[in-house]
């Protein structure tokens, strides 16, 4: 018998949004920042846009003595404060009918028994049809306990024709070894296709636009290689310090927190070959291939740098140094700034260094990818005329102020021939409006639809750690990171990396 085709669906009918099938979500760690600031508001926004199925249910699990109403109140407050779309009573009512709360600890068999009964009850009264996603918004140390309990109480096993999925957030381990253990823990309970790792960067419009820019246009791809590209700079800068996250951050540091996942994923999208199609598998193959061709420079002491922010002034506010932050050990060697150099050993990129940097308490909050081109082979102008001309560059601005900048030389108006750098800007309005979905919304919807192109697979995670581990080991053997004043663009040692190659960091 041929597969049933829904007569109301038509591939030509692109107005119809994808609505997830009947399902529910179980949220562990409901009191954490992630749940309250991101997950709950995203669920509401999805409902507000009409993208959640009728009967969608949200179950909270935490060590709190709460009734369902208390949980609903927590979600209500978080939605009111953080949702992007307008608060509408009728949407709220629709959602709130599906809220349940199960109190308990992760080792409490009775609580997980109750969770199973709750999920079954939802299938009965809300029509969630046995489809449930388990969102682990908890520290990775507890993953093992929770998925073990899910397995023990038959929650991980989908009935015929339904699904069970697990969603985890970074950090995906702190080195290759721990990442593998973490994966084994998850994989012992859920098949790899049911494990969704959220890297919220990959849900951003501009990140997806990297692929559109590269592969939908004729004018960029021909120069997207070592013949024309001098080097690539990938920056993720934050103006804030570690805030209240000392417990998490101390001992982890900037490289593990940001480079391993966000920056290496960005780099693989910028540098990978064209995938055969845009399905999850083809993308994963190309990303992994790129990650596998990444090599480290021989001299890590000359090509990497790390720093720790010292007290100073950031954006007009006096701020304390990392070592004075509450909860940080006074002798901590954790870096809050990391810059590394990577090479890609393939035909396209041989000889083109990729400089990746990230840091806290830097000049301003910005994430961008800058592809910097080689100078023109010959300039038929006097040296004085082109003094202000540097390299052409294409900059993909990921956040904030999403868009693209093209930098090239232009004549300065006047009677003399003088050429200087100018910037051409493109910003697509859509990414700032309420009507475009936020990264978390997009990713949660993809989890519910079971659509995995935007989620890093385990092989990518493991390979990323293989790249980073030697650098982390090198740093661990070297003692203290360099101090840099808050509000500046990092330690002098980072400038030195590029200066050795006759280059300099962009001021983003």
């Amino acid at each position: 018998m041929a597969a049933w085709v829904n007569p109301l669906r038509d591939p030509q009918d692109r107005r119809l949004p994808r609505i997830a099938g009947p399902c529910g979500m179980v949220l562990f760690g409901v009191t954490g920042d992630l749940s309250r600031k991101k997950v709950m508001p995203a669920v509401y926004d999805l409902a507000n846009r009409g993208l959640l199925p009728p009967g969608f249910s949200l179950v909270g699990f935490a060590r709190r003595d709460w009734a369902h109403e208390d949980f609903a109140q927590v979600v209500h407050d978080s939605v009111k404060e953080h949702s992007r779309t307008e608060f509408r009573e009728e949407v709220w009512r629709q959602l709130a009918e599906g809220f349940r709360f199960v109190p308990g600890t992760f080792d409490d068999d009775q609580a997980f028994n109750q969770l199973r009964r709750t999920v079954e009850e939802l299938d009965e009264v809300r029509g969630t049809s046995g489809n449930h996603a388990f969102y682990l918004a908890i520290p990775p140390g507890f993953f093992g306990a929770v998925v073990g309990q899910l397995k023990k109480h038959g929650l991980a096993q989908p009935a015929e024709g339904s699904w069970r999925r697990v969603v985890v957030e970074k950090p995906f381990g702190h080195d290759e070894e721990s990442a593998r253990e973490l994966n084994e823990t998850l994989a012992s309970v859920f098949p790899s296709g049911s494990i969704f790792r959220i890297d919220h960067y990959l849900g951003k419009e501009t990140v997806q636009n990297i692929l559109a820019t590269r592969f939908a246009n004729a004018m960029f791809e021909p120069i997207w290689n070592a013949n024309y590209v001098d080097h690539v700079q990938i920056t993720m800068a934050e103006d804030i310090g570690i805030g209240g996250r000392a417990g998490y951050y101390d001992g982890i540091g900037a490289a593990r927190d940001v480079i391993q996942n966000h920056l290496l994923q960005l780099m693989s999208l910028v540098a990978m070959e064209e995938p055969t199609s845009f399905d999850a598998e083809s993308l994963r193959i190309e990303k992994l291939k790129l990650l596998q061709s990444i090599t480290l420079p021989r001299r890590l002491d000359l090509t990497t740098a790390r720093g720790q922010y010292a007290a100073g002034w950031q954006g007009g506010e006096k701020v304390v140094g990392f070592l004075e932050e509450e909860g940080v050990r006074r002798t901590s060697h954790t870096e809050t700034y990391a810059a590394i150099t990577l090479h890609v050993d393939n035909r396209r990129w041989a000889g083109v260094p990729f400089y990746l940097r990230t840091g806290k308490r830097l000049g301003r909050r910005v994430t961008e990818v800058a592809v910097v081109f080689k100078p023109a082979p010959h300039l038929p102008f006097t040296r004085a005329a082109t003094e202000e001309l540097t390299h052409n560059a294409l900059v993909i601005r990921v956040q904030p102020d999403e868009g693209m900048t093209l930098r090239f030389g232009s004549k300065v108006p006047g009677t003399q021939m003088e050429i200087r750098d100018v910037n051409m800007d493109f910003a697509y309005g859509g990414s700032f409006t309420e009507s475009s979905a936020e990264a978390y919304e997009r990713l949660i919807l993809d989890v519910l639809l079971g659509d995995p192109p935007l989620f890093p697979r385990h092989s990518e995670v493991e390979r990323s750690w293989q790249i980073l581990d030697p650098i982390l080991d090198h740093w661990a053997a070297k003692g203290k990171p360099d101090a840099y004043e808050s509000g500046t663009w990092g330690p002098p040692s980072a400038e030195a990396i590029l200066a050795r190659d006759g280059r300099s960091w962009r001021r983003p």
């Binding site: 829904n6 609505i19 099938g21 009967g55």
Partner: protein, 302 residues
Amino acid sequence: MIELIDTNAGGIAAEFVASRLRAGSPAMSMVMTLVVVVDEEGSDDAMQVARQASHEHPARVLGVILGDARGTSQINAQVGTGAGWTGETALIRLQGEVVKHAESVVLPLLLPDSPVAIWWPADPPEDPASDPLGSLAQRRITDAASASRGKTKAIHLQCASYHPGNSDLAWTRITPWRALLAAALDQQPLKVTGGSVTAERISPSAELLTAWLADRLKVRFERKGSNGPGITEVRLDTKEGPIVISRRDGRLATFSSPDRPDRPVALKRRQLPELLAEELRRLDEDDVYAATARKLMKLQRS
């Protein structure tokens, strides 16, 4: 806003450049031109809607007010950038003979080599594609529900003169309904044997929804009347029982289907800026609307 009295297309174009320079940002990153054909009373509201839609689609918005076609020609314009607009805007008032040649004013003001959409917030021409202004655009957006005369027939007129690129906001309005109905059959793959659409007596959207369902499902759909607001109920009959989505208050609907508990679904009637933004998202031909328009014509004849 700069007032230009007794000007022409060149004067308006020069003012666009001048106001960009004055704003200190000579670059433009607009993705399309949106022409809005309005009358004097409706112009404030319509430009307000276009302004909100321009946040999603940065556009040069040209509001055109067609005045009295008798007498000497005069063109007055208000040109501006900024102040809540992501692109540029001009509200152009035409009077006298030039009213019959409005396209000669608009043509030089279209952004080079980028798409053009046109929107008639109220009374559209009977055949938008052959309208002199309409023929400049590849997307022609009408709104049968806001027709001031011949309300009952307005959507039929638009469907009869359908031409690739035409679209009506009555069609845009039912996207959430269609999405929900499609999702209903995703969840329960049942064979639909018939059904009905219940709505206000005059509701272009309900006519289109009936035609769409009949066209896709190849069965007869009944059109029933109610007091509204808008569409109040859609019923799909199946052997296992009916799938019913009913909405009495224009906001919250109840979704019931065979062997499943009834569930509330938010199904809010959307405002014009949202509708317009959805229309501008895709500028190629809407094949499904085309098929629905054909079906509506066929249903009317039979």
